[in-house]
Every structure is written in C-alpha cells, then in structure tokens.
C-alpha cells in the first residue's frame, strides 16, 4: 500500500465512521448514560433508513430526515414503554421490537425488501449539485455526515448538563437516588430512549441515502458494531467530561472503520465485519472482568504448582 492509496482509504473510513457514529452516539446515551442495552437498535436503524427512503422517493429530501428521526422517537418510545410500564425485561423488549419491526419495515417499503434511490433527490444529491466543479466536489457525503455528527455531539453535551440530562445520567448510575429526588426513573428512561433512537434512525436514514439504496438487512448487527466502536472510544477517552466522552465515541467509530477498511485492503473478506465487531465487544467487556479475576487465577495456579488442589478456591 502506498501513500496515494491512503487518501481515499481515509476518506472512506471517515465517511463510514461518521455515519455509524450517529448510532454510536445513540448508544453513548442509552448504554453508557442510561445503562440500558437497547437491542432494538438494529430494527430502529433499518426503520429510519426505510422511512427516510420512502419519504425521499416521494419527493421530500429534507422532510425525509425529520420523518426518519420522528419514527426513531416512536420506536424508542415503544421499547421504553415495554420495559418501564409493561414489565418486559429490557433486553427482551429490544429483541421483540426488532423482530416486529422487520415486518413493518418491509411494509413501509411497500412489500419490498429493497428500495433503490438512484434517481431520488436527497440532501446528498443536493449538496453534490452545489459543490459540483469545486475542489471538494467529492466530499459531499463527508460534509453532511460531519454536520450531522457535530450537531448531535453539541446537542448531547448541552443536553446532558440540563436537569433532565442529569436525571437521565443518574438513572443509569443509581435509580434509587433518582426516585429520592422525586423523579420517576421510568420517565427519564422513556425520554432517554426516545432521543437515542432518533439518532439511530437518523444514522440509518443518512447511510441509506448516501449509498442510494436501502435493503432490509441494512441495520443487522448494527448494535454490535456500534457497541464495539463505543467501547473503543471509551478506551481512548475513558477519563473526561461528557463532551470529551461523546467525541471519544465518534473517534471510536472512526478507528473501528479505519481498522476494518485497512483489513479489507489486506484481503480480509467483507463479510468478516460482524465477526470482528463481535470479537471487539467480547474483548472490551471480558477484558476488565478477567483483569479483576487475575489475582485469584494466579493464586490458584500457584497452589496447583505446589501440588495442592486449587480448584475450589478458584470458584469461590
């Protein structure tokens, strides 16, 4: 690989990283702040893409983005109601919604599992027309992704410092304390998931419009990919304020895509993306767990070395 290859490579990684950063920021809110693992992410991402595509195809490029975010809010609201008001386990609520949305998404696309937007006017084609002939004519995707991510980061860093934002963070931290502050944790969970899912749907909408097509599998595995990016980001920026950690989430998304793009150059098959993301999540979550158990494991190995059976103490 020579240096001339690096430019486009970086740009691709940056673009894809920024598009997925929207979902990563959604998980930053739901997973890191609210402490809810929102498994409806995949379905919500696809739904944002489908709704965005359908509205754009009907001739409303700007409305398509608002519609996608609105449907994200709705999706988040349903997941949140299931887990706070209807007694459905949080993880199960996400899985159920995901499954249901699969049918709905096909219905939204008009009984199709694939929609083409080759001749559709979107924010991307609009900006491409504006930039045509300038030296940054290639960067229209990058610019839109950058604007969207910047707006979301600014929103989050302001919002998470408001009283409502603090209440959402406290809900993930200590729900008892939220209750004793006369705030209903169900309310903060609902608001948090509505907002986070609007970002997820926005991510789906923009990705679909930038690649001019949407298929029913566009969101599959998204939650793991985003989680991997988020955990990379937290490793990069573990200490720091709310804003810095949000930026860390974006950086994590970029690093994830960069590594992936480089791996593709070295002939890793494209279908390995999801396995890689799974492994990253496993390592990032199990790593600290094993680090904590390390002294225990060492002791039991030492005991074994001395000829004493250390099996029992390792399990204790």
């Amino acid at each position: 690989m020579n240096l001339a290859d690096m430019g486009p490579l970086l740009q691709t990684a940056l673009e894809l990283g920024l598009f997925s950063a929207l979902t990563v920021l959604a998980l930053y809110l739901s997973y890191s702040m609210l402490n809810v693992c929102d498994l409806s992410t995949d379905g919500c991402f696809t739904m944002g893409a489908c709704v965005g595509a359908v509205v754009a195809i009907s001739g409303h490029p700007f409305l398509s983005i608002i519609a996608a975010m609105a449907v994200g809010v709705l999706s988040g609201f349903i997941v949140a109601i299931l887990q706070t008001k209807m007694g459905v386990e949080s993880l199960l609520a996400g899985i159920i919604v995901n499954t249901g949305w699969y049918s709905l998404n096909i219905a939204i696309m008009g009984n199709a599992s694939l929609l083409n937007m080759n001749k559709t006017e979107t924010v991307f084609t609009k900006l491409k027309d504006i930039l045509a002939g300038t030296f940054i004519s290639d960067a229209y995707r990058l610019i839109i992704a950058l604007i969207a991510v910047t707006l979301v980061v600014i929103f989050l860093s302001l919002f998470l410092r408001t009283r409502l934002g603090l209440a959402i963070r406290a809900t993930g931290n200590n729900p008892d304390m939220v209750k004793s502050s006369s705030i209903n944790p169900a309310f903060t969970t609902i608001v948090g998931l509505c907002i986070s899912n609007s970002f997820t749907a926005l991510g789906g909408c923009l990705l679909a419009q930038s690649q001019k097509s949407v298929n029913i599998d566009i969101g599959s595995g998204m939650v793991t990919i985003a989680l991997a990016s988020l955990l990379i980001g937290e490793a990069v920026m573990s200490k720091g304020g709310i804003t810095l950690r949000a930026v860390g989430a974006v950086v994590g998304a970029f690093i994830f895509r960069l590594v992936y793009t480089i791996a593709l150059r070295f002939h890793m098959p494209a279908y390995m993306l999801k396995l890689v993301s799974s492994i990253i999540v496993i390592v990032a979550i199990s790593g600290p767990y094993f680090r904590k158990r390390l002294p225990l494991i060492k002791r039991s190995l030492n005991l074994k070395k001395q000829g004493i059976d250390g099996e029992g103490s390792a399990d204790a």
Binding site: L164, M177, S181
Partner: protein, 269 residues
C-alpha cells in the same frame, strides 16, 4: 404529622415463605417529633420505613402525611415530602456524577432544560461549607471519590435541601467508622434542629436511642411493642430498656450488634 393506621404487609403470601412483616401497626408522629426506633433483627423496622417511603404498597391500612393520604402514592412522589437515608452510604448518591450535579438533582429547582447557574452554585457552596469537610472546594469532583462518611453527609444535605415533612434515617451511621459516625450524627442533629424536622431514626445503638430525640419506639414481630417519651423516657437506662423488652416480648433481645454495643458500653462504665 404522620399517621399510620392498622398497616399490614405480608411478604410472599400463600407460600411456605410467607412472612407477616407488619402486623396491624398504628403510629402517630407529631410535627417536630424526633423518634428513635430500636428492635431485634427482623422486627420490621426497615419494613416500616419502606412502607412509609413507598418502596412497596401495604396490603391494608392507611398512611396519612400532612393531611394527604399517601397510602397508594408512588415512591418518587412521596419523595417530595419524605427524605430518606440508608445504612449503605452508596445508595443515596450517584457515584459517577459530581457533587454539584448530585445536589442539583436533589434540589430539583428550575426547568427540565435549565443548567446549573452561578446562584445555585453559591448556594451549594454555602451548605457544603456547613459540613466542615472541605467539600465546597471539590464540587466538580465525582461523588465516587468521597469517603463513606462524606457521602453520607452529602446524602443528608440532599435529603434536607428542600426541608421534608418527614426524615427517615435507617441506621445511617452504622456502616461508618466511629469518627465518621459521630460526625454524621452531629450534622444530623444540627440539620434536624435547624429546620425543626420531624424525624424517625432506626438505630442499633441503645445509648443514642435514649439520648437523641424525644421519643423511643421498640419494635418486635412487625408491631410497636413499646413507646416511651417524656419523663418516663428521661429516667430510662439501657438496662431498663432491655428488661422492658424481655417483659413485653417474653424473650431476650437478639440483635447481636445491639448487645455487643451494650456490653461494650457496659464494660466502659
């Protein structure tokens, strides 16, 4: 005024593990009362607090606080009038958030979208300085960096930042080292006196049960078996308390920590 009438609660009803934790309990607490509560393990002291604070809804009976029937009111709504501290100093605060963020949530002032402003910060500085722990200069540090005693002291501030109609203290100094426990108890006394709070305090320390407050309750088997105040209480010693318990319940007080405390204090004398 807090009024519980004929409150009952059974856990796991209809199973072999069924346990009647509160048995037809009635209690009237006057405004400004500072009541200490003692009792054996499993007597229902914490269960009583859970019932008042709304951690569960009672099976029967009625709970009235300041002319409002709160029997069926959800926990977070009751929290507007009821402040509560637990034995575990970690339970009352959010460890990952800063001191001032914790206080902001407890204060609950301003709109949902308001940020912490300078005036509010000044206010927090002022009340934190009253603790005399130097916390007013650490307002931007995460709560998790504080010691147990410091966290419990801040929790006490949070519970009383908007003076509640009722303050529930559930052995809130039991998990602290003796010095920190004394300090938190002293702050508790000051806050309660300053705001003239109505307060219920569970304790395993019979000495402070008799010294603090103006009334002492003893619980056993989910009900109040002894209720002393006034001169009767002033004349009471720890031994009297133990004897009274034995006479009424027909058994010795089997709270290990309480007895240890008694022996320790007795040895000192």
């Amino acid at each position: 005024m807090l009024k519980l009438s004929h409150v009952s609660k059974t856990f796991n009803p209809g199973t072999v593990n069924a346990k009647q934790a509160l048995c037809d309990l009635s209690l009237t607490v006057d405004d400004g009362d500072f009541i200490t509560i003692i009792g054996a393990n499993g007597a229902g002291k914490s269960t009583l607090f859970n019932a008042i604070a709304g951690s569960f809804i009672t099976d029967s009976g009625q709970i009235i606080l300041d002319d409002t029937d709160i029997t069926l009111m959800p926990e977070h709504e009751r929290a507007r009038r009821i402040g509560r501290l637990f034995q575990d100093p970690m339970r009352g605060t959010a460890a990952g958030m800063t001191i001032e963020e914790n206080l902001t949530l407890a204060a609950g002032k301003g709109g949902w979208l308001s940020h912490i402003d300078r005036r509010q910060r000044e206010e927090f500085r002022e009340i934190l300085s009253r603790l005399d722990m130097g916390l007013e200069d650490r307002m931007k540090q995460p709560m998790g960096l504080l010691s147990g005693g410091q966290r419990q002291a801040v929790t006490l501030l949070m519970a009383t930042i908007n003076p509640p109609s009722l303050l529930l203290l559930d052995e809130h100094t039991a998990a602290l080292d003796p010095a920190a426990a004394d300090k938190v108890l002293k702050i508790t006394r000051e806050v309660v006196e300053k705001e003239n709070l109505t307060c219920l305090m569970i304790t395993h320390n019979m000495q402070s049960a008799l010294e603090l407050g103006n009334r002492t309750l003893m619980m056993d088997g989910g009900d109040i078996i002894l209720d002393v105040s006034g001169e009767d209480r002033d004349a009471m010693t720890m031994q009297d308390l133990l004897d009274r318990f034995k006479n009424i319940s027909g058994k010795a007080l089997d709270n290990d920590r309480m007895l240890l405390m008694h022996e320790k204090e007795g040895g000192k004398q």
